[in-house]
């Protein structure tokens, strides 16, 4: 560290401040003005240093002091991250509220990890052991998980001493022969990816319990997905459902430029939620980062990096992490705003020319990896994109689609029909399906993929038939094609539509999804046979088993109900002579 040096402000224009008299490195953090507002160096021109300040700069004058901290923006990593609610630069919001009241005022520093909390540390290495950078040296119970204490990446040596007991994050729990102390906390610069040993193929699905996603457009652990959609397509509800139900161990939720009231919903519903697998509070495995749209733009820009650095830290312990960035468009918007204040030459639609590379750098930090602690961990990133005017050709969406492998196309037409989740089955895609096929075959059902393909095909056929129906009406179609329309309607209304608010319907295990779709498929096959025996379509469609199949998803005893309905279906079709 260069140590702290001081200089003076020469110009203030909104969040961009120019200073003289310090010689920091790019992206070092500086404290600006008498209020000591936090800022980051974003440009060096001659003797002048251009600083992007994370807080409102009203009242700051030229001539006030600027302090160079000599270090880039970093986060504190260690026990205490889970259950925390941070702003974009890792200041805990509950503590800010205690310190300064209901409104976020300026110039308040608060460490990311509480300094006074004692954690129970149990070493996993013995005295005399040879440890490498990034290795696990001990364990601490934290929230719902076991926090693995990692050695900082640049530290290695022989353990001289290490002890069990209650410690704060700063207190040394041990020492290496070379004199380096081991503590539970380390820091990491957010803009720099944490290193790993090797990237692995993402061949395990991230199970979300959302039927349309798991069955038709699966995401792999370590994969990347984008959910675009104009405002009001249910993007926020979908991403909240994923945080609640996906089988990643750790959830990092970055509310980047989110609405205050919606963030409140996240902040109030999360602590009440129970983890369906353990019965413990969901917050015990969650880190929330909340930077609402009226909080400083520069902190919004940083919030995404803060989030992914925390995700990488848990990945390095060997956990599966899912990171939700809602929304990356707001993040890009922040980049655009800062870039325009810097009077940079704008690229497409006023976005900076480096938009594409920033996006790919960000998504590039996810993946399933072999870590330096000898474990395997993953980060799956789900980025929400909110294209302006619902126009998918705008630069943020386009650059994102070039990178991500899964596209869950939220559709406002479907929203108007109250089809939720409003994910368009024709325009969405997942490039992971072929890689994940084996897993589904081994873990759910042999013919999972066949059922999946059948459903996709039926839906595709429907859309072709719909065009004809638009012209001539459905009565003009042959019975068999009308049956396809009916079956596709069943797939849409029974299977694809899923209510986030219904206690049973909100989560659907893979086995149930498979059985549900198989039952619809069976209905379709029987119905086809019935029609070939010249049973009128109306009669087939009005069989009670069809309606029962639709209502099934809201029943608490759905899994037993499924068997009953399928049995009834066989009987009813037998009654038609099938």
């Amino acid at each position: 560290m260069a140590g702290q040096t001081k200089g003076k402000i020469s110009r203030v224009a909104g969040p961009v401040v120019t200073a003289e008299g310090i010689s920091p490195r790019m992206y070092d953090v500086v404290l600006v003005g008498d209020l000591k507002l936090m800022g980051e160096v974003i440009k060096l021109v001659g003797d002048k240093v251009v600083i992007q300040v994370y807080e409102d700069t009203s009242g700051i004058r030229p001539g006030e002091e600027v302090v160079d901290t000599g270090a880039p923006l970093q986060v504190e990593l260690g026990p205490g991250l889970l259950s925390s609610v941070y702003d974009g630069v890792q200041r805990p919001l509950p503590i800010l509220r205690d310190k300064q009241g209901d409104f976020v005022s300026r110039g308040v520093a608060a460490p990311g990890l509480a300094r006074t909390t004692k954690w129970k540390f149990t070493p996993t290495v013995k005295k005399g052991a040879e440890v490498q950078g990034g290795a696990i040296v001990g364990e601490v119970p934290e929230g719902n998980i076991v926090h693995k204490v990692l050695l900082p990446i640049n530290v290695k040596g022989k353990v001289k001493s290490i002890q069990e007991g209650q410690f704060t994050v700063e207190e040394p729990v041990g020492e290496l022969e070379n004199g380096q102390k081991i503590s539970m906390m380390q820091t990491w610069p957010v803009r720099q990816p944490r290193p790993y040993v090797d990237k692995l193929l993402p061949d395990i699905p991230l199970v979300t319990g959302q039927r349309v996603l798991d069955m038709l457009f699966p995401l792999a652990k370590g994969g990347t997905a984008a959910i675009p959609g104009g405002f009001g397509t249910g993007k926020t509800v979908t991403s909240q459902q994923l945080s609640k139900w996906s089988d990643a161990k750790i959830v990092v939720y970055v509310g980047c430029g989110e609405r205050g009231n919606e963030m409140t919903e996240v902040l109030t519903t999360f602590p009440e939620l129970e983890d369906p697998k353990t019965g413990l509070p969901l917050m015990g495995r969650t880190v929330l980062i909340a930077n609402t749209s009226n909080m400083p733009v520069a902190a919004r820009e940083a919030s995404v990096y803060t989030g992914i650095t925390i995700a990488e830290y848990y990945r390095d312990m060997g956990y599966d992490v899912s990171l939700m960035a809602d929304s990356t468009s707001r993040w890009a918007e922040a980049m655009r705003e800062i870039s325009s204040r810097l009077e940079e030459m704008p690229g497409e639609e006023g976005y900076p020319a480096y938009l594409a590379s920033r996006l790919s750098e960000f998504y590039g930090r996810c993946g399933r990896v072999k870590t330096h602690s000898g474990t395997t961990g993953s980060i799956s990133v789900i980025g929400a994109v909110s294209p302006s005017g619902g126009d998918f050709s705008e630069p943020v969406t386009q650059n994102t689609l070039r990178i991500v492998k899964v596209f869950w196309a939220l559709d406002s037409k479907l929203r108007e029909r109250r089809h939720f989740p409003a994910i368009n089955w024709l325009t969405s895609y997942s490039l992971y399906s072929p890689i994940l096929e084996d897993w589904y075959r081994q873990n759910v059902a042999e013919d999972w993929n066949a059922v999946r393909l059948w459903a996709m095909e039926t839906l595709q056929k429907e859309s072709e038939l719909q065009e004809i129906v638009q012209l001539v009406g459905s009565d003009a179609l042959p019975e068999e094609q009308r049956l396809t329309l009916e079956v596709a309607r069943m797939i849409r209304e029974f299977f694809l539509q899923q209510s986030a608010y219904h206690p049973v319907d909100t989560y659907s295990p893979l086995k149930r999804q498979y059985e549900y779709m198989s039952a619809i498929k069976k209905f379709s096959e029987h119905a086809k046979k019935a029609i070939s025996l010249e049973v009128p379509l109306e009669k087939v469609v009005s069989l009670p088993c069809r309606a029962d199949l639709g209502k099934l998803k809201f029943e608490e005893t759905i899994d037993e109900g499924m068997k009953t309905v399928v049995a009834a279906m066989e009987k009813q079709f037998a009654g038609l002579g099938v």
Partner: protein
């Protein structure tokens, strides 16, 4: 006393450039004295050792290079007091109603700090507006910001007034205080609002800020902030529930663009500044509730979409910040339906939290989903009818087609003074739904259908 400078080097549009000053704070308030003895106010936009850029609120007309510039050493503040209720103020906060000056109890920064997300309370108290298309389909809750997206010539003012008049929280006697901020509207429109406030006695509980079409555009950047600062004071210091109505957002954004162009900033979409999103957010986000505080701020901004284009940057960015939107429909207006709420394009994002058992009624969500779906289906069929004629439709389809018509005619349409309770709204919904085959009500739980369906209830 602050020093007066006579070092103006350049005046361009609403901007004044002053040289060789002592250090001046960013955002500081500025007083400019003109040769004719009058004064104008402004704010520092850019400050450096060499030059200070000032944006003048009342326009730069009459300022010359010899004018005196005084920096007041503080940012723009709003004097607030509880006596403000019932007052009419100008767009920059001066009394217009010939009443006494406001004796401030507090002077507040008009650039409100962001509410700490952790301090926010979940908005979930249902506001009954008495308008079926809003209460039933796009429910408003306390602390929400729900704009009306309208177009020129549509009766958005009437919708806003009806809501201001009828809005109440069930089981509470207390009325809303209204803070009304007008930005660049014509004096006729302003009169219309004032008359209605007087007629209904709402003026007693209102604070009115008027920046009219012929007032300086730059002042429009101030008006909403003054209104919101006042609203925050009423809500969080005096524990009042406040309804903020401001009109027209489009005029505000035009002013923002004007200032951006004068500063020679790099423009983003359609010439609007790149920071318009953040700027709008800094105002819309001043709605909400705070844990442990009794008051609340609910915003009802009116926005006229240029050319009815919902993808225009102003409605587009607004939609990303506000919790939904009420869209006014020209089609319904032409059919003579008031309020012309385009239900299928409107949305309230906080609806889910404000409805259901204990808040409205257990069947609310299901009824509204079903009405949406059936109406959407009926509307689609209209397109088909145009091609193949009504005769070609199946029995089922014809029912949906008729449903869409009666939905518009009976559910959406209501009188300007008709105040429907939520029960009336939902019962009306059931009545309309009962014209459809029971097995097409797929969005509703079987038990709920059995309990509320008019023909099943009787059995």
């Amino acid at each position: 006393m602050a020093k007066e400078y006579h070092t103006i080097s350049q005046i361009a549009g609403p901007l004044v450039f002053v040289e060789k000053t002592e250090p001046v704070g960013y955002g500081e308030l500025v007083m400019i004295s003109l040769p004719d003895g009058s004064t104008k106010r402004g704010q520092v936009l850019d400050t450096s050792d060499e030059i200070v850029v000032i944006q003048v609120f009342e326009g730069t007309g009459g300022i010359d290079k010899a004018s005196g510039v005084k920096f007041l050493g503080e940012t723009v503040k709003m004097p607030v007091s509880k006596d403000m209720l019932g007052r009419i103020l100008s767009g920059s906060g001066e009394p217009l109603d010939k009443g006494p000056p406001i004796i401030p109890e507090k002077r507040l920064e008009i650039i409100g700090a962001a509410i700490n997300p952790w301090a926010r309370d979940n908005p979930q108290e249902f506001i009954q507006t008495g308008v079926s298309s809003i209460d039933g389909m796009n429910t408003l809750v306390r602390g929400q910001k729900l704009p009306i997206f309208s177009g020129s010539g549509l009766p958005h003012n009437d919708i806003a007034l009806q809501i201001a008049r009828q809005a109440k929280v069930l089981g509470e006697k207390e009325e809303f205080a209204v803070v009304f901020g007008a930005m660049g509207i014509t004096s006729e429109e302003a009169q219309y609002f004032m008359k209605d406030f007087e007629r209904t006695g709402a003026l007693k509980r209102a604070v009115v800020f008027l920046n009219l079409a012929d007032d300086p555009a730059i002042e429009r950047l101030l008006t909403p902030r003054l209104a919101l600062t006042t609203a925050e004071y009423l809500a969080f210091d005096l524990n009042t529930h406040v309804l903020v109505i401001w009109t027209d957002i489009t005029n505000y954004c035009e002013a923002l663009r004007q200032i951006g162009a004068a500063r020679e900033e790099v423009p983003a979409r359609r010439g609007y500044p790149g920071y318009m999103y953040t700027d709008l957010a800094s105002m819309y986000e001043r709605a909400g509730r705070i844990k442990g505080k009794k008051g609340s701020i609910t915003q009802f901004p009116i926005l006229s979409m240029p050319g009815d284009d919902i993808t225009h940057p102003i409605p587009d960015l607004t939609g990303y910040i506000t919790e939904g939107q009420i869209v006014a429909s020209r089609e319904l207006h032409r059919k003579g339906i008031f309020p012309p709420v385009a239900v299928e394009r409107s949305l309230s994002r906080l609806m889910g939290q404000g409805i259901g058992p204990g808040r409205t009624r257990e069947d609310h969500r299901a009824v509204s989903d079903q009405l949406y779906a059936a109406y959407a289906e009926g509307r689609d069929l209209r397109g088909l009818v145009a091609i193949v004629g009504k005769e070609a439709l199946s029995e089922r389809d014809r029912k949906f087609l008729d449903f869409a018509d009666s939905f518009e005619d009976r559910f959406v349409r209501q009188d300007k003074d008709e105040d429907r309770t939520i029960e009336q709204t939902l019962d009306l919904g059931w009545e309309l739904l009962s014209s459809l085959p029971v097995d097409s009500l797929t969005k509703i739980d079987r038990k709920i259908v059995e309990k509320y369906h008019p023909s099943m209830k009787k059995k």
